[in-house]
Symmetry: C2
Amino acid sequence: MPRTLVLTKHPRDYETLIEAARLPDLTLVAASEVEDGLARGGSSEVLVGDPGRVTAALPRLPNLRWVQLTWAGVERMLDPALRRDYVLTNIRGVFGPLMSEFVFSYLLAHERKILQRVEAQREGRWDATLPGTLQGKTIGLVGVGSIGAHLAATAKHFGMTVRGYTRASEESSHVDRYFHGAARVEFAAGLDYLVAVLPNTPGTRRIVDDEMLRALPPHAMVVNAGRGDTLDTEALIRALQEKRLAAAVLDVFEEEPLPPAHPLWSTPGAFITSHTAAPSFPADIVGVFVENYRRFARGEPLLYRVDFERGY
Amino acid sequence: MPRTLVLTKHPRDYETLIEAARLPDLTLVAASEVEDGLARGGSSEVLVGDPGRVTAALPRLPNLRWVQLTWAGVERMLDPALRRDYVLTNIRGVFGPLMSEFVFSYLLAHERKILQRVEAQREGRWDATLPGTLQGKTIGLVGVGSIGAHLAATAKHFGMTVRGYTRASEESSHVDRYFHGAARVEFAAGLDYLVAVLPNTPGTRRIVDDEMLRALPPHAMVVNAGRGDTLDTEALIRALQEKRLAAAVLDVFEEEPLPPAHPLWSTPGAFITSHTAAPSFPADIVGVFVENYRRFARGEPLLYRVDFERGY
């Protein structure tokens, strides 16, 4: 009967869902018992939580055997100063559909001129300007993991051509053409949409740089929903200011929250979405936890186990 | 060598595309020759055009054999006062993808709170409010023809449950449950989204009435992209004003353009899209015309032929 502790922002949402799953032998340590320095939670063997709360608790959990992260990002767990004597699993698979809704909400809003039509309505003006369409347009995905593959499938549903820029992998059948390594300008040339969804792996800093941005046509839109340092922010701001780009939807930043004085807030064409692209909804996370708990109880390998050495 | 005449708002776009198709034996009557009362166009056998321009020209085309409409809507062609001694074909098939982009642009903008985040950005405020998701939500389609079937497929791609309200047909496999006839309240109860895309057929007036609107939960959004009289506008305005509905996206109206003094312009939650949901893009229309011209030249049955008696 593994004692299980939930350390998240809204622990009751998780606890209610975990209780509803009626998992065999599970003893849930109530969040309310945890407030006083893990007084009772300290004997837990299983931990469900986000990286910030989990890393803070790690030194005080002598019986810890398994941590189920509520995030995809594992970077903070890889700090060499932290223990690694437990099984770490993260969340994968559930963010593709959410990221698809995020990315395509902005692509479609752009084509359908939603903001322009709201403005016309405020003025009581019948605005019959023709919309654009995603059909026949080309989207370039920087990073084609499970999230990129889902975006590629959605792009195909809307009749788009899909390019992928990856280190080496060519796994999604929805990508029409792959580019690697030095073929960055070739990848970006002529794209209508460039969407960066790089996972949290090393070696991906500023892949979308001034050179890649200059290869895009002036009607292009850039979306960054991976990590903040994928993109050269200064180069992007210059591109928007000089009208070399139509728009940029930015969900992640090198510093979050984005500082109030940051020029991006008022750069024309920039849309700030405040790291809301693919949140961890408790129902999705608990779905992964429940499957993994059943495996854990039977001594089977867990889904989405993180290799501390490889970093993912 | 059938003389072919284009009567549309932007005839040069059509003519350029038709010329590029290099159709055998086709003689295109230049739009510039038509201005003076069809002086030379009057001998045309084939006409490509919208209902308004076509009906005006009908009495002056003695050699007319075939009209390819650039619209889906055929109502104006059915006026009993007009001749019916020619083959009439309309446009079908191309509007499903466009309508899908229209409907889902607003569904996704609603879930992702795009307007709210734009407002927050204007204030320089990091707005990390959680988005909603289409996954697990229920969409109800009033009318499931070729357009409704395409919407159902897109809804399934986004993980939605799909209900269909039709007179009798149950043709789309993407609809989870069909409703007919008197089951109007049952159809509407608990819907997150009600989307009306009824074709231009008789007997569909005010199907979405006060009773159906009252069956929707207060967080629901209504979309009307079929025809203006499908919806009881006064009942809709009351529902929005009394917060019994979250939003309504309206593309079509009983009078178009919507009169400047109409209360819909400023009804809270109403979005006016000024009949732009599924425009006839010349490239799509010419694609249908080219296929039909080849059939016409070979004496084969044409695609999308309209039956004057049935009205579609």
